[in-house]
């Protein structure tokens, strides 16, 4: 129970100080948790029983630190609420007391208002005085009521934040309600969306700040949320890479491996710069971009949507091929920009194209002969498509998945083995899709589109028959049974083929780009 005297005497600054202190502690805990995770990641190559046990222990630590950070964040929030609500009630009392003084009235310690000047009142003043007393008695009563309610509610919330409640006490296996419920990667996107929708806005905001790395990569989280989460993550990834770069640069001398590592780090930082620029400073005529995934480990992954896939009528996913990685994402993001424009020109009312560097791509043409990369990518690509369906608002969009070079092999394997949730697939300059006939992809053949430029060197990979034709026949070939659209012949050379022609499909208003726009917009191709 809050008394008038309490409320009159309170200093709301105390709440603000508390707010700041708990915020600092929450951030610190979060940073500690991230540090532990980084240590754990660095031990990736350590194998064996001891390694497994150690890594599990570290993981447990980082989870507890996260839970602690969440709790501290809650405390910060509650102190802020106290500052707001009790501070407001306090001010109403101060203002009311000042008004009473102006009228020559006295306010006692328990909030009663006296008129000690009653004998000196003139004419109709007594009536006015009675009104003033009635009014401010009401104001004081309401302020005390509000403050009492706020005090009770916030105190109850604080009591719920005990160590036992969050499982951060020694001997406890559980974690906070919030951290325990973040679905793990691999959960069905429909389930993820259901879970997200069941949270209150406060819970959603809290998770965005404290669990951005998990939310950012989770299929089934709406695009705008993933974008916000990943923008936080982008900052963290950059900091991580900067730290690694500094460590290498300050070495007195570097081995050849370290030189390569430094080169790779610089390239990845360039990739982050490119992404950040596209997110924050689009060129005139470019649609807003959304960052649906970012990870600088390994070759680095990036998932960048041009246009909002949750609201666009036509949504394309673009899977680039050999050489795709974070450090070289600029060209591939540019291709999504080009495809969005081509689809709009074809009459699409609203379009989104997502550059999906969401798998470990082979980095050279020798590695590209290996179908393992495609096999390892299937689940992620399939789940990403399911995720697009789960988060789309209103009428389902028309979804197209477009693969260039090895990207087409990835899509082929995904369609063949996982029954990909897409309306149309497009293979551009394909070395093979893992099947010999369009119907084996589980889509009506007229929704399987292929093109290859006359001079594209990729055709060389399809010259020989099985078992030498590693990924299967050219889907643009006569026996495949799909729908073929034409491309510009491309740059020729003395062999009749060129690597340039393999990359020109999005250039210079190539007829292929016009047709890709048609397909994305659901129009006929030529």
């Amino acid at each position: 129970m809050v008394t008038f005297a309490d409320l009159h005497e309170v200093d709301p600054q105390v709440f603000r100080q508390g707010e700041r202190a708990w915020q600092t502690m929450s951030n610190t805990m979060g940073e500690r948790a991230a540090e532990v995770r980084r240590v754990n990641d660095a031990l990736a190559d350590w194998e064996g029983d001891a390694a497994t046990a150690a890594k599990a222990t570290f993981q447990g630590h980082s989870q507890k630190l996260d839970a602690c950070s969440d709790t501290l964040f809650e405390a910060y929030r509650l102190w802020g609420e106290a500052a707001d609500r009790i501070g407001a009630a306090h001010r109403r009392i101060l203002d009311g007391a000042a008004e009473c003084r102006y009228w020559g009235l006295t306010v006692t310690a328990d909030g009663t208002i006296h008129d000690d000047n009653a004998r000196n009142r003139m004419a109709d003043e007594p009536v006015r005085i009675r009104e003033v007393i009635a009014k401010y008695s009401g104001v004081f009563r309401d302020a005390v009521t509000d403050a009492t309610a706020a005090d009770a509610q916030i105190a109850a919330s604080f009591r719920r934040l005990t160590a036992e409640a969050v499982g951060a006490a020694p001997g406890s296996d559980s974690t906070t309600a919030a951290s325990a419920t973040v679905p793990v990667r691999g959960t069905s996107p429909a389930e993820v969306k259901r879970w997200w929708d069941s949270l209150t806005p406060m819970e959603q905001e809290s998770l965005l700040f404290t669990r951005s790395s998990e939310l950012g990569m989770l299929d089934g989280i709406p695009a705008e949320i993933r974008d916000r989460a990943n923008r936080f993550q982008l900052v963290e990834e950059r900091a991580e890479l900067d730290a690694q770069k500094q460590r290498l640069e300050t070495l007195p001398s570097r081995t050849h491996e370290q030189e390569l590592e430094l080169k790779s780090i610089n390239e990845k930082l360039g990739g982050l710069d490119t992404i950040e620029k596209r997110l924050t400073s689009p060129q005139a005529g470019q649609q807003q971009a959304y960052l649906l995934g970012i990870d600088s480990s390994g070759n680095g992954r990036a998932i960048v949507a041009i246009g909002n896939p949750d609201t666009a009528a036509n949504v394309a996913t673009f899977v680039p091929g050999t050489g795709a990685r974070l450090g070289s994402c600029g060209t591939d993001i540019g291709r999504s920009d080009s495809m969005v424009k081509a689809a709009n020109r074809a009459g699409s009312p609203s379009t989104a194209s997502i550059t999906w560097i969401g798998y470990d791509a082979p980095q050279d043409l020798v590695a590209a002969a290996d179908e393992d990369y495609a096999q390892n990518a299937r689940q992620d690509l399939d789940r990403f498509q399911d995720g697009l369906r789960a988060t789309h608002e209103g009428t389902p969009s028309h979804n197209t998945v477009i693969g260039h070079s090895y990207g087409s092999t990835v899509i082929g394997h995904t369609a063949r083995d996982m029954n990909i949730n897409a309306d149309d697939v497009v293979f551009v300059g394909s070395p093979g899709t893992g099947v010999s006939r369009a119907e084996d992809l589980g889509l009506p053949p007229e929704h399987v589109h292929s093109t290859v430029a006359e001079h594209d060197i990729i055709q060389v990979t399809n010259v020989f028959k099985e078992p030498f034709d590693v990924h299967g026949p050219d889907p643009a070939g006569p026996m495949f049974g799909g729908s073929v659209f034409t491309s510009d012949p491309g740059t020729s050379s003395w062999t009749g083929y060129s690597t340039e022609a393999h990359s020109q499909y999005w250039d210079r208003e190539n007829k292929a780009l016009n047709n890709m726009g048609n397909i994305i917009a659901g129009k006929p191709t030529t």
Binding site: G323, G334, E509, K511, N514
Partner: protein, 138 residues
Amino acid sequence: MRNTITQEEAAKRVEEHIHAVVALLPKEARLELGLSDPQNCDDPTDNGPRGRVTESHDYQIHDLPPTDYNAYFDTIKQWWETHNYQILADSRPKDMYLWAENKNDSFRISIKANDVGGFYVIASSPCVWPQGTPAPRE
């Protein structure tokens, strides 16, 4: 690696090709700029030299009656054929798309119309070095 025209010259020439087309259309045609910025000519699997750009400009053409679009396409195609352009593609009637390359400077230009009244002209330069001379190898 050969010298090329500079990026600035490429941008200027792209505009010339576009305006040659627009001059063939009724005076009430109103242009709205879509995109007019250089694009990289780089690609990880393309072993070509890095650093080249292409100037690609596109405009939407407003205020013309869609029922006359096909006639405009015919006019433009005829003009290109008689002014040293090679027609690379005419996808009508299935797709209102016409694509040509200038035989002198290899600039490419296309016009496109869709079934909701959109009408566009897009032109681009070959890949050029920004300053006209190849960038030094790293």
